[in-house]
């Protein structure tokens, strides 16, 4: 039997199998086709001519419509409906989970704070004449406070200027939540004020990590460092950030 005649036989069988999925029909076709091929091959070995072997193999299969009608009982409509409904439900549940799961966005934000905080919004938009990349970290409870950049603009007198600190806060647990940066104080020469009293920008992103920029911290040549403190969760942290006066030409 030629491949085309076997195909026609299978077509007639499958025409009666109404509710099988395309994948199931492909599998049925392959199985029936393989059977006829095997039988024809056995007849060829027994000495039959190719055309007769093919014809005998097809005849031995029986009536294709009857085979299809019996096969149809094994693929009821109920199962097809159930498989389609379960597929749709699975897709909907996965989509709902992905698009509404806050932890996914939180985790991405937390990872960014660990790996490349300089790619955050503030660092890419706020520019200073003199900048230094930093990596100063401190633990506060379950959080990490990280200062990743310092900036300096110098006034015309060359002796005074404004400093800026770029920092972020993230949980040690990438899937955890972090506190926002409301407890920070900042200052120089022992004079500390709430960070919010400065030109301060808050970029919360989400609870995975909070980014902040405290700018226009007035400094003079005698201020070698800007101090940043954080006091919450029963933990006090004090960080000193060198002002890059030596970079000023």
């Amino acid at each position: 039997m030629s491949a085309m005649e076997r195909q026609e036989f299978c077509d007639r069988v499958l025409a009666k199998v109404r509710h099988a999925t395309p994948k199931e029909k492909t599998a049925i076709r392959a199985e029936l086709d393989a059977h006829m091929e095997d039988h024809a091959a056995a007849l060829l070995e027994a000495g039959y001519e190719e055309a007769e072997a093919a014809e005998r193999a097809m005849y031995a299969m029986g009536d294709p419509e009857e085979i299809g009608a019996e096969l149809n009982k094994d693929y009821p409509l109920g199962w097809l409906v159930l498989s389609r409904v379960s597929l749709i439900l699975t897709v909907l549940i996965c989509a709902t989970f992905l698009f509404s799961w806050p932890k996914l966005g939180n985790t991405l934000n937390s990872l960014q704070a660990r790996i490349a905080p300089e790619t955050s919004g503030f660092a890419s938009t706020a520019k200073y004449t003199y900048e230094r990349d930093l990596d100063i970290r401190a633990e506060i409870g379950g959080d990490i406070l990280r200062i990743y950049k310092v900036g300096l603009d110098v006034n015309r007198d060359g002796e005074t200027g404004n400093a800026a600190l770029f920092f972020c806060n993230y949980s040690k647990n990438p899937f955890g939540y972090t506190a926002d940066l409301m407890y920070l104080e900042c200052g120089t020469s022992g004079i500390m004020e709430s960070a919010r009293n400065y030109d301060c920008g808050w970029c919360s992103g989400n609870a995975g990590a909070y980014y902040s920029l405290v700018a226009k911290i007035p400094v003079t040549r005698t201020d070698n460092a800007v101090v940043l403190t954080d006091d919450h969760f029963g933990k006090y942290v004090r960080l000193e950030v060198s002002v890059p006066w030596e970079d000023v030409t």
Partner: protein, 113 residues
């Protein structure tokens, strides 16, 4: 015996074949004819509705394996549930056959078994 389109208890015979080894469809047809001395010589395509029904019921499971020709063949394997079903069906058949034989012997004047 006249060749029939379907035979009774084909499912039982299929399970019995698979109790010995995993087989593909054409192999079952050949083996069935050989073991029964061609008494059971069915229309071959009618085997597949039976096999697919047994698969849906979980008494057999199928897997694909490459044939020497390179083509993929669908083999059937008797599951644990299938083995239990086979034992139950065999027992029922033996009881049935025994009863038939008893009636036939009595009817032939051979006396009670």
């Amino acid at each position: 015996m006249e060749k029939r389109k379907t035979i009774e208890h084909t499912g039982l015979l299929v399970l019995s074949l698979l109790a010995g080894e995993d087989m593909y469809g054409y192999q079952m047809i050949v083996e069935l004819a050989r073991r029964s001395d061609r008494t059971f010589d069915m229309k071959e395509g009618t085997l597949y509705p039976i096999l697919h029904g047994l698969e849906k019921n979980g008494v057999v499971e199928a897997y694909m394996q490459e044939a020497p020709t390179g083509r993929m063949r669908k083999y059937y394997h008797l599951t644990k549930k299938g083995a239990e079903r086979l034992r139950a069906e065999e027992a029922a058949w033996q009881a049935y056959a025994g009863a038939v034989n008893a009636v036939l012997r009595f009817g032939a004047g051979l006396g009670p078994a």
